[in-house]
């Protein structure tokens, strides 16, 4: 009896500790940032959000993240397809390299892009001669976003391709459908949930990206300053309310995307 009593207290202690940890580490900070942005009332919130520099930073981020997500959807779908369907030398190596952008520190990723495309580099010089600039301008930000979100679409598409029922595809061929038609009508629709959820995850990650972008963006307010770098600047200049106000716009956006993705996945698994 004594033992049971003790073990009950033990498990009660464990439970409360773990749940408290969860609450303190994740829930409280998120509530904190929402309250902080309204800490001075609606007006300062509205003022910090309607500051043209803040607006431009958010819009620029959304625009560039969208471009990066679209490019990632295209190349990700293609690579996922190639890696799953064709057998060729080096396939397994490429398949493991897919995850590298996740494993690599984002600051290192930014440095790589800076070295490859920056001034005095081979590509940078060619672009310079042709009259357009990459580093410290929008293209470099998109490249950085593509790099860090590269694995999302591929990893979302691959399991779907593996699960896919080959008989439908074969039936289409037997009935004389062309390869393109089969792909568009049979294969692509079953890849679509993966393409979409991977693309949305890539988009939300690109919205949030900081490390890779801050090194290559040049961070000129109103021109190449993206939202997360703007927030960092506000924190550095001790304007925590302004930083929080822009943060919650970005956060709310990401939360909605995450919610949609989880709904899409839940629907798939319930099927």
């Amino acid at each position: 009896m004594n033992f049971m009593f003790r073990s009950r207290w033990w498990s009660f202690g464990f439970r409360s500790t773990v749940m408290l940890y969860f609450l303190l580490l994740v829930v409280i900070p998120i509530i904190g940032i929402y309250t902080q942005s309204f800490s001075l009332g609606w007006k300062p919130f509205y003022e910090s959000v309607s500051d043209p520099l803040a607006w431009k930073a958010v819009l620029l981020t959304v625009k560039l993240a969208f471009i990066a997500a679209v490019i990632n959807i295209l190349i990700g779908t293609m690579i996922g397809w190639t890696l799953n369907r064709y057998k060729f030398a080096g396939r397994r190596l490429l398949n493991s390299l897919v995850d590298l952008p996740f494993a690599l520190p984002t600051a290192v990723g930014g440095l790589m892009i800076l070295l490859l495309l920056g001034p005095n580099s081979f590509v940078g010089n060619i672009a310079d001669k042709l009259g357009f600039q990459i580093v410290f301008h929008e293209p470099a930000i998109v490249v950085a976003m593509i790099f860090v979100t590269f694995p999302f679409v591929i990893r979302a598409v691959q399991p779907l391709l593996e699960e896919m029922d080959k008989s439908e595809e074969e039936a289409a061929y037997t009935m004389g459908a062309s390869k393109t038609k089969t792909f568009l009508q049979i294969i692509f629709p079953s890849m679509l949930p993966g393409v979409l959820s991977g693309g949305m995850l890539a988009f939300s990650r690109a919205l949030a990206e900081f490390g890779a972008v801050v090194l290559v963006a040049g961070n000129i307010p109103g021109k190449t300053l993206i939202a997360s770098v703007f927030i960092y600047g506000e924190i550095e200049s001790d304007n925590s309310q302004g930083a929080a106000a822009v943060s919650i716009i970005l956060l709310t956006f990401s939360f909605i995307i995450l919610w949609i993705v989880s709904r899409v996945q839940a629907r798939r698994s319930s099927k």
Binding site: I79, G109, Y232
Partner: protein
């Protein structure tokens, strides 16, 4: 079609992954061995690598312990109502959606020197923001979902029958855990640890905000790379970046190995 897709895939990998990796490698040696050695033997570089190592160790241990327990509770606990479990389950992913800079900001807002809690702790002599504890908390926040997301699917898959059998036969709960549950989730945990370590090493935004990036005090390897680049000291940045990249590639190999072992079980 096949003739087109395979070379295209190869060229994307070459441009996006392989060439950049190679560039870091050659960049670090652009001033020869001495340049590389000097970049790494600077006291601030050694200190930054030490900080990163310490944070990684502390965070990985805490995250693993709590991650395993939390996933056990979220999958198995009968004392949690089903609705609450679902809610917690979706809250769990939030750190993935939060920009690391915002993650850092949250901690500064709650525990910074201007807050009630921060001032209180400061009076007692504990500083959290711009010090080691804050950096650990920031990294814990960003890595929080990783372990749980690896273990939960495994737990759901294995079901409860074996564990129930063990406890009906009279095994204590600890004993059941080590003999029945642990062998099943082991590779998931190892995979989660590798992911956590990779994220700890690479964490930049949250740590930059919380640490204040004070040289020789709270500077980590990634924030040192950032500072070096800002100071146009690209060779030095390259040296530290090469060390980080090498560890990442090593972790990637480890991940592949753990993934294969995980599939066996």
């Amino acid at each position: 079609m096949k003739k087109l897709w395979i070379p295209l895939t190869y060229s994307i990998f070459l441009i996006l992954i392989i060439v950049p990796l190679a560039r870091i490698l050659t960049g670090a040696w652009s001033d020869g061995w001495n340049g590389f050695a000097n970049a790494l033997s600077r006291p601030e570089a050694l200190h930054a690598l030490l900080m990163t190592g310490l944070i990684t160790i502390v965070v990985t241990i805490i995250n693993t312990l709590f991650g395993v327990m939390l996933s056990l509770y979220l999958v198995r606990a009968e004392w949690l109502p089903e609705k609450l479990k679902q809610l917690l389950n979706s809250v769990l992913d939030l750190p993935f959606a939060v920009s690391p800079v915002i993650g850092g900001l949250m901690i500064v807002l709650l525990l910074g020197p201007n807050t009630a809690l921060g001032a209180l702790l400061n009076d007692v002599g504990i500083s959290i923001v711009y010090a080691f504890p804050g950096m650990v908390i920031a990294t814990l926040f960003v890595t929080f979902p990783m372990m749980v997301r690896e273990i939960m699917p495994v737990l759901q898959e294995i079901g409860t029958s074996q564990e129930e059998a063990a406890s009906t036969l009279g095994a204590y709960s600890w004993y059941t855990f080590w003999q029945v549950t642990w062998p099943a989730i082991r590779w998931g945990v190892i995979y989660g640890v590798v992911l956590t370590v990779a994220r700890c090493l690479g964490e930049f935004g949250a740590v930059l905000v919380v640490s204040g990036n004070i040289i020789n005090k709270t500077q980590t390897a990634t924030t040192l790379v950032y500072q070096d680049v800002e100071n146009f000291n690209v060779t030095a940045a390259n040296g530290v970046a090469l060390v980080l990249a090498a560890v990442s590639v090593g972790l990637l190999l480890l991940m592949e190995w753990a993934k294969k072992r995980k599939e066996v079980h």
